[in-house]
């Protein structure tokens, strides 16, 4: 901001900028010139500057010698209390949980499919076994593998030892 002739209001409006070094050289020179020429503004500036200097001159409080160590110890406690939450949770929720869910779904689906297949096989075997006497009586089957399989899964009839002896004598 640049004025041909600075008035008191304009001058005092620049006190903060002058104090904090925010004025460019031409404006700063203009303000200082007005402060010299205007006793009222000069006195106001001196009060302003002295108060700020007094405030800024109060020494700072020195931190305790172990302050930094205390902060770092507190950081260690924070990290030890919940390290899993810091790094583990995002990995868990983003990758592991979906992968585990997919694996479990696949396993469940495979198990159901295998059970269904097993039950179907069992049903077929039981039906064949139930029809074995009829099949044997008809003697229509020429496929000895099927007959052998049917013999395997069908319950074996109980043998009468006297009948066997008589059959053996008759055949001899």
């Amino acid at each position: 901001m640049r004025f041909l002739e600075m008035n008191c209001t304009q001058c005092q409006a620049e006190f903060d900028h002058l104090l904090d070094g925010r004025l460019d050289a031409p404006v700063s020179a203009q303000v200082r010139r007005h402060l010299v020429d205007c006793p009222g503004c000069g006195a106001a500036w001196r009060d302003y500057e002295v108060a700020w200097t007094a405030f800024a001159s109060v020494p700072e409080i020195e931190p305790s010698s172990n302050f930094v160590a205390r902060v770092m110890n507190q950081i260690d406690r924070v990290e030890n209390e919940a390290p899993a939450r810091v790094w583990f949770f995002p990995v868990l929720w983003r990758w592991v949980a979906p992968a585990m869910a997919a694996i479990m779904l696949l396993a469940a689906g495979t198990g159901v499919w295998m059970k269904v297949q097993h039950d179907a096989d069992q049903a077929v075997s039981q039906e064949l076994a139930a029809n074995l006497p009829v099949v044997q009586h008809l003697d229509l089957l020429k496929d000895f593998d099927i007959i052998a399989e049917l013999d395997r899964i069908a319950p074996q009839p109980e043998r009468d030892p006297i009948e066997e002896m008589l059959n053996a004598l008759w055949n001899s």
Partner: protein, 195 residues
């Protein structure tokens, strides 16, 4: 944004670099503690709150974005911490900020407990103590926003633009706050100062 070494350090902290974090603590411990001390008036409490500020910085490191200078972000946390403490004390009047503390030496009352950390000749020491007391009284009399602006100017030499970000107000409002604060300081200290 121009290169800010503290922002670079904080970006390393974001990657978990503890040495970078410790460097920031070492650098900012004094201005943070002093700023908080001027709000709460007790050094032990100020250090505890400052410790909380730095722990909060560490915990929030993953969310840090270098859109502003690190000091701006840090002192925003500092200011929020001070405001929370002031509100907490308002709910518990036994810890009131306005409760004066008697100075053991001369029996006069000071708004804050001020540790005497420097040894000087008696006359200088008495003058310095008196000035310190008057400044502390004047600062305590300021509204929170004005006190914060003064402390950021004093301890950090923070530009007006950064102060505006910390205080979450416009630049023109910040300039107005600074001007009113300095005018109040001048009015409070003028009887005790020789220009």
């Amino acid at each position: 944004m121009p290169f800010d070494p503290d922002t670079e350090l904080m970006l390393q902290v974001r990657r978990g670099n503890r040495a970078a974090f410790e460097a920031l603590v070492v650098k900012y411990q004094r201005p943070v503690i002093n700023t908080i001390f001027r709000s709460v008036g007790d050094l032990a409490e100020a250090e505890d709150l400052a410790q909380n500020v730095f722990v909060q910085v560490w915990k929030s490191r993953g969310r840090y974005m270098p859109t502003a200078k690190f000091s701006t972000w840090l002192f925003t946390i500092v200011r929020n911490t001070c405001l929370n403490e002031v509100r907490r004390r308002a709910r518990h009047p036994a810890d009131s900020l306005d409760k004066p503390v008697k100075d053991a030496a001369d029996g006069s009352e000071s708004p804050w407990q001020i540790p005497d950390q420097q040894a000087k000749p008696p006359s200088e020491e008495a003058l310095a103590a008196e000035l310190r007391k008057r400044v502390d009284t004047a600062l305590a009399a300021l509204p929170e926003a004005q006190r914060t602006a003064m402390l950021l100017l004093r301890h950090q030499n923070m530009p007006y633009e950064e102060i505006a970000k910390v205080m979450r107000c416009s630049l023109s409002a910040t300039k107005s706050v600074i001007h009113r604060a300095r005018a109040m300081l001048r009015d409070q200290l003028k009887p005790y100062l020789r220009p």
